[in-house]
Symmetry: C2
Subunit: 416 residues, 2 copies
């Protein structure tokens, strides 16, 4: 399998020199170029003609690089460098699955052609950013920024800036923006940490986005939308409970649910912001990592989001991810248990497997139909692939300090 490193947008292999060549040599060279051109269609220097539905991206956080991988043969296809500070990075995909939008911690936003394994466009759009989203129809990408606090909208094809929305709350304070997610209908939801608000943004006219403000509670630190695009949930750092918005309600309103959520034995240290995105919907139930406890909670949206159960785990859960069919939920953990992964059967609510893949399991990603799951092993420089039925390890791929893993199927799902 080709494994090519490229950087920026340079395409060094297209230049030729014709100065001193004789006739037959010119012809031979031209025919060779023709052959190379045709070969390029199948997978040579100029990109790969292949399906994009089984592609993915692995963040190599220390090197500022991404790997382009494919999940059918479980191989690495290429790497792309020059993506800046990826110590915290997230990725969304174009609706055709061909382009990845990589949001870096340093405010870099890069559009990467996965078939050509190169950056097509790159902007430094903020001083400090934690991620982004793409609108339902794929026409606009949005970045959520800590500094300056706000949301910026860009044309998805060219990264031309379209609008900037400073995150100034009703109290006049400028806030960090967290929990940005796309909603049906060319809208976005996001939360403002310092101001304690949830915003619903109508980006139908992306140069003139319209904001609806809701009071969320104290210090929403992350937010997410359910796969059906109906519920937006924000975790609260400054109080217990979660803020919930039913996006089908008109006008939308935020209310508190899961009042006990967050009430651990000890308050979390300020630097350890939990990940709310590490929770999942499976069989209509919400599975959330408990805060400060070695448990995952189950809550029922159909019964007012009341807690319907808990499952005891090996450590403090970070990411709780549902297999696409909802039959299993996989959990990874914070240090010192970040060498462990557990699998819960959602029908019985029992832990059915405990796996010790490696030190530093940072992220898990299921293949589109969930027959396999990919894990990043940050401290052992590799990615591992497991069969979700047998739990056999199917493959190992080398990777430099891998963190996030993102598959192109996210292009077809809300909130991803």
């Amino acid at each position: 399998m080709a494994d090519r490193t490229t950087s920026g947008g340079r395409s060094a292999r297209r230049t030729t020199s014709r100065k001193h060549w004789t006739g037959p040599l010119k012809l031979a060279a031209a025919l060779a170029l023709a052959a190379a051109g045709l070969a390029g269609c199948a997978g040579g220097a100029d990109g790969m003609m292949r399906g994009t539905g089984d592609l993915g991206v692995v963040i190599e956080r220390a090197a500022g690089r991404i790997q382009v991988v494919e999940t059918s043969g479980m191989t690495r296809l290429a790497t792309v460098a020059g993506l800046g500070d990826l110590s915290h990075a997230s990725v969304v995909f174009s609706r055709d699955g061909r382009y990845a939008y990589v949001f870096g911690r340093d405010g870099g936003l890069s559009r990467v052609d996965l078939l050509r394994a190169r950056v097509t466009h790159r902007v430094m759009q903020a001083g400090n950013s934690i991620g982004g989203a793409i609108l339902q129809d794929g026409s606009v990408v949005a970045a959520q920024n800590y500094a300056p606090g706000g949301i910026r909208l860009f044309d998805a094809a060219t990264l031309e800036p379209l609008a900037e929305i400073p995150a100034i709350g009703r109290d006049g304070r400028r806030s960090k923006v967290v929990g940005l997610a796309d909603l049906p209908g060319r809208r976005l939801a996001a939360s403002l940490f310092e101001s304690g608000e949830i915003w619903i943004i109508d980006a139908a006219d992306p140069r003139h986005p319209q904001v609806t403000r809701l009071d969320a509670g104290r210090e929403p630190y992350d937010g997410l939308v359910t796969p059906d695009g109906r519920w937006y949930l924000a975790g609260l750092f400054g109080e217990d409970g979660l803020a919930l918005v039913d996006l089908w309600q008109t006008p939308p309103a935020a209310r508190k649910v899961l009042a006990g959520y967050g009430r651990g034995e000890t308050r979390l240290p300020v630097y350890k912001m939990p990940h709310l995105r590490g929770w999942a919907m499976a069989q209509g139930q919400a599975w959330l990592p408990a805060v400060g406890r070695h448990e995952v909670l189950v809550a029922d949206p159909a019964r007012g989001w009341q807690e319907s159960g808990r499952v005891a785990l090996a450590g403090q859960p970070v990411f709780v991810m549902a297999r696409p069919d909802g039959r299993q939920v996989w959990v990874n953990f914070a240090f010192p248990d970040n060498d462990t992964v557990q699998v819960i059967d959602t029908a019985t609510r029992q832990v059915v497997r405990t796996i010790k893949p490696c030190r530093g399991v940072l992220h898990m990603e299921f293949t589109p139909k969930g027959e396999a799951v990919w894990l990043s092993c940050r401290d052992e420089d590799r990615v591992e692939v497991y069969d979700t039925a047998s739990f056999a390890r199917l493959a190992t791929l080398p990777a430099d300090n891998p963190s996030g893993i993102f598959f192109t199927v996210r292009a077809q799902r809300f909130g991803m």
Copy 2:
């Protein structure tokens, strides 16, 4: 946009003749060929390098052809001929989204490269067939056959035959196979019409599939699996009610639900087999076309599949399709109301729109995130695209007697 018709596997544009050309002319020709080769990478004679996540197939039923379309710009990219009798045809996709497997009424099974717009492999695998499925990991395709009654498994890359399972029921009769669907775990479900059975097939070893037989009831005429891969439902022609299997149960068993289903004012004529696949899950509820009544039923899987409501409609519903976020359900109708489409808001259970697109609306397909829906207008030789929020018509594409429309996002969903 390119609109190319190709047939079979021929690639006629690659031959060149060099016999009588002079030096400079040879060079010019070779350079032109080089340019054409490089252009081919971007979209010329040898295929398209593009994402596959926004591609789709439109069946041109009278001509035995398919169109390859893309839903971002809403255009036709190519047509592919030589696909035999497509008067009843269905399509599944490879997991990377690049290949379409077209099952034709005459038993033809064709593997089509959507990027090269050509048939790569084709077999005549039965005398009379109504469709097929692809296993969860994409390695095997399965055909469901009327004559000879049975299921055949093929290697997805080469169409090499792997196994044949004659559909012989416990009563010794050979049955037509209906309702074939893929399940998590490299399994399939199907129903046998004459024998009244549901089969769960373990194809982990596709050369030696293992069959588990369940009694379904009288004459299951179609079947489907819910998007989470948990429930298999078969419609019964010879009695009222539906047969249901909870695939999470071990061992699996079939039971009857919706006892009143099928009880119309008059029995359906034998030639008019209803389509069970024209039902949908939205917000955890099942929406089914009523049989012999101008209504759609709503049933609740969480409450024993009991009926929880009905919505009165303009005619006899054929296909009931849920928008991916579950907020709307779109319905088309049997003759004489097959010029009409209605939209139900699932939150209020009200019909919110009645559209009259054309005569002969055969099929509807949503884009992956549901911002648009494509309809086939068989009797007016076109396909129409509607915005699902505003109901505005966004585009019209010419098509010869179009029937089924299938988008590559199905590659990432069970039972499709």
